[in-house]
């Protein structure tokens, strides 16, 4: 029987690996297509930038350069929601330190807007030859390792709980409403006339690309932060990391073929060359993302699948984007401002305080009781019970 189990496991692992490779390659292809269709350079897909644009479109911030209700984001959420329902995997769950997650979503966005991109865009920028993103990658890894330092010593936001289905429907419902507004009453929204917000692929293409990327990410559980985190924890290259590499390779090849590859630090699209901030920005993203268990893109996918914890994190990201742009914290191609440096410092400090408090200052939940396991074990005839 053991052989059978092993064979079955091997087969499942192989399917899982293929799903992750396909997802990575698919997201790369979609990102390149979306850039060709009008999205900003090396920004075919970016969860953080696009959420920031949505925050601008609904007037949460007043930066006229980055306002657009990105259909990609709506597509991800709605696509995941639909496929989760069809596969009967929709689970409304949450209640794991929601307000702390809000804050960590906030700080994750501050970090992303100091670097100018989420981990997904970091990969796309590297694939476009933007060496600033390599600096960012080192920061990202450093942030993840710092997060693991806390996790190994006891960091946990606590357990999640099953909730009423409606708790998991809020974000898909909001996405549907926003999509309806985009299509039928766009005059309600703000649209950038210039800058990155004015550059976008046609609505339908963006929506379909979002749906495809979301569905693939949900089915394969693609996650850039998880890829690095688990590889460090397991001390081996996980299938998810191979999916990330697939994304990078396919995007790189695509950019080379289309002539979009431009190696260097200076003059990269929607990027700045301040190495320290590229490093620190993504370090904060890595740290925050490890603490909330998932990069910005993964939060969208989880939220579509019913996680109210992820929905709260996304709300935090929207708030972070609004504050970052209203108070001039977000970086621009010109670099990071003094206000940006101070704002970032606060965000990093808050994240570290949360990490320390949840690691060292709270009692751990020991939620499994010996009696409960014993009772279930006995019922199933699984174990000889003596005490």
């Amino acid at each position: 029987m053991k052989n059978n189990i092993d064979k079955k496991n091997q087969k499942q692992n192989l399917y899982q690996l293929i799903a992750l490779l396909v997802t990575g390659a698919l997201i790369a292809v979609l990102a390149i297509l979306l850039t060709a269709l009008g999205n900003p350079g090396n920004m075919g897909f970016c969860a953080a930038c696009f959420l920031r644009d949505i925050a601008g479109a609904i007037g949460l911030h007043g930066n006229p350069l980055v306002q657009y209700a990105r259909p990609e984001i709506l597509g991800v959420v709605l696509g995941v929601f639909a496929v989760a329902l069809v596969r009967r995997e929709f689970k409304a769950q949450g209640g794991s330190a929601p307000l702390t997650r809000f804050i960590l979503g906030f700080t994750m966005m501050i970090g992303a807007l100091i670097f100018l991109g989420c981990p997904l865009r970091m990969l796309l920028r590297i694939a476009g030859g933007d060496l600033n993103a390599i600096v960012g990658l080192f920061g990202f890894v450093a942030g993840i390792l710092l997060g693991l330092f806390f996790i190994k010593r006891g960091f946990s936001l606590g357990r999640k709980y099953n909730q009423k289905a409606v708790e998991g429907v809020h974000l898909p419902a909001a996405s549907l409403v926003l999509l309806w507004i985009v299509v039928f009453v766009p005059s309600l929204l703000l649209f950038s006339a210039e800058g990155p917000g004015s550059m976008h692929a046609p609505l339908l293409a963006a929506l379909v690309a979002g749906i495809a990327a979301g569905v693939a990410s949900f089915v394969s559980r693609f996650c850039i932060v998880g890829a690095f985190r688990d590889s460090f924890l397991l001390k081996k290259v996980t299938p998810t990391l191979m999916g990330v590499v697939a994304l990078l390779v396919v995007a790189l090849v695509g950019n080379l073929v289309l002539g979009n590859f431009q190696l260097g630090f200076a003059g990269q699209p929607v990027a700045h060359t301040e190495a320290i901030w590229n490093f620190l920005g993504l370090a904060l993203v890595g740290l925050s993302a490890v603490l909330v268990s998932g990069c910005p893109m993964r939060q969208l996918v989880l939220a579509g699948g019913g996680s109210s914890d992820a929905t709260i994190t996304i709300a935090g990201m929207l708030a972070g984007a609004a504050i970052a742009h209203n108070f001039g914290i977000a970086a621009s191609p010109a670099g990071v401002t003094t206000t940006g440096a101070v704002g970032f410092g606060f965000a990093l400090l808050v994240t570290l305080v949360i990490a320390v408090v949840y690691t060292f200052m709270l009692a751990k939940n020991r939620v499994i009781a010996k009696e409960e396991v014993a009772a279930v074990g006995e019922k199933k005839g699984l174990c000889a019970q003596d005490d």
Partner: protein, 100 residues
């Protein structure tokens, strides 16, 4: 009640010989990575070899890592932190044992 670290030994000593040697495969999922890591350490301290691995897609979960181990009962998980579900690995897949 015995001390935590003695619990496993109790089962070994008092269960009949036949039962002691029937090792079954289990997979435990957790609400947090720390839960998986600390439980792995705890099991290893008790002489149970437990391996961290990505959660099988069929089970899915929040933290992404699960603990795979072989033992004659899932009782060795009695003090696990942040544990979500325990499954027995069977020829047909995964059979849920404890659902919270």
């Amino acid at each position: 009640m015995t001390k935590d670290s003695d619990a496993l030994v109790d089962v070994d000593v008092t269960a009949s010989a036949a039962e002691v040697h029937v090792l079954k495969s289990y997979v435990a999922t957790f609400y947090s990575q720390f839960g998986a890591l600390s439980t792995q350490k705890e099991l290893q301290k008790r002489g149970v070899s437990a391996e961290l691995q990505p959660v099988p897609r069929a089970l899915s979960s929040s933290c992404g890592l699960c603990l795979s181990f072989q033992h004659d009962s899932p009782l060795c998980l009695e003090d696990a932190t942040d544990i979500e579900d325990v499954y027995q690995v069977t020829a047909d897949g995964y059979e849920g044992l404890v659902i919270f």
